[in-house]
Amino acid sequence: MKISMAEVEHVARLARLELTPEEKEKFTHQLNDILEFAAKLQAIDTEGVPPTSHVLNLKNVWREDEVHDWLTQEEALANAPAAADGCFQVPRIIEE
């Protein structure tokens, strides 16, 4: 399993990370090391073992459909870097 620098760039773009050429180089190596280590798990025989999606031995946790107020508009917006008209204000999204 070998991850290419192009894949590192792709993942970085999806995560909105801006990497320098040195970082790309470094992370390509590091990610490969991690993947190589994880690949050791492939050696284990998992025949007949169901895939694990959760490590907790729990299922069907739910609540009743009840309404509780929590925050006021003022409280909700208290930490917003910018707010207007009762809303969070963000840079305009340009749909190209």
Partner: protein, 482 residues
Amino acid sequence: MRKEDLETVIGLEVHVELATKSKIFCSCSTEFGAPPNTHVCPICLGLPGVLPVLNKKALEYAVRAALALNCEIAPFSKFDRKNYFYPDLPKAYQISQYDQPLAYGGYVDIEVNGEKRRIRIKRVHLEEDAGKLLHAGDDIAGAATSLVDFNRSGVPLIEIVSEPDIRSPEEARLYLMKLKTILEYLGVSDCKMEEGSLRCDANLSVRPRGAKELGTKTEIKNMNSFRAVFKGLEYEERRQKEALAAGEEIVQETRHWDENRSVTVSMRGKEEAHDYRYFPDPDLVPLIIDRAWVEEIRRSLPELPDARRERFQREYGLPAYDAEVLTASRTLADFYDECVRLFPDPKAVSNFVMSEVLRLLNAEGKDIVDTPLTPQHLAKLLGLVKEGTISGKIAKDVFEEVFKTGRDPAEIVKERGLVQISDEGELARIVDEVLAANPAVVADYRGGKEKAFTFLVGQVMKATRGKANPALVNKLLKEKLS
């Protein structure tokens, strides 16, 4: 490739907001139209360190919908995180279901030009809605900004994905209408497209008629009404067929329906973004749904539109068309059932509902339950016609007032002096007067002009302000003119 040799293939993804009181993973209200950011909490605002907990009612509604759509409920299902950045998604992931959805393998039957078509349903899964972006104008500094309201963030949705079994924009429209009707019958959603509680995206491709493989598809978004779905797909179908006929290739892309210009427009730059890096949400544990609960929900399903339509034909002897119209909404079908129970003449009730009631409902754009009209009113009104107290024509006038005010029909009839004149002596006197006043017309009739008779009936009606018993007027006129 000629356009006539191409067939259209459509699959729909329908998002439906569930009518729970609280959100899917927190206890904020789902109320529509509240001031912005007043139904929010740390969970639906995506603040760190919170723990989402599933709303049991949302799950129940989803199971209910899936069963009504003839799906299997998965023995095991789980929630996944769908990762992407957008300002209406505060966690930068949407909690959805990826490879193990709640339900799969269902179908909906629609009728196209009198023929039954089965549209298979691939899956039904649960997810959370995103917030709402409001695009404001430029602010004082001149910097363009958008505003975000998170009241909708975390409202429960089901996504219903069809197989690519739909063959025309009209079939797509019929399928969507059928889904809406079924979901309304179930009471799991109010299905208001104009409020965004029912939304529809489509995948459309064309291919040579009879081909097995699918052509390159485009995804069409932003069709916000039944009409827009039809128009948008019709446009896209034509665009793709023309492109292929001209030897061009279809580019796989997302296209936006522009209602004002009536065209679909390419949204470039979205192609590479379809890399959502799904993984199981560690905060939400798996669902292993008790089969007994599923069966309990199945037993609680109401009579669904198809079954009800068939019953209306069978039990009430209605024509297929009447049954279809009367069962198109549950509230109307309930109203009809109750009217027939009170006034057991199914055809008379059907005629009145389909003409007068629907005319006024359509004119005012209302649902029957939002008017003061009750089944008791209509049964009473039809009773007055049947016993000869008022004529059918007068009944229509009285009905308009009942519809607007919710007053008792008998009271209106009495107050406005609308009781039909069925007294033969009194009517005979009026008929004599009319005949005496119109000697020329009488002569015409006797000379063989049939139309003259209608005129004379009209004169008697006029003289009685519409209150004369029509059958009696006819009889008396015939007698006196022969």
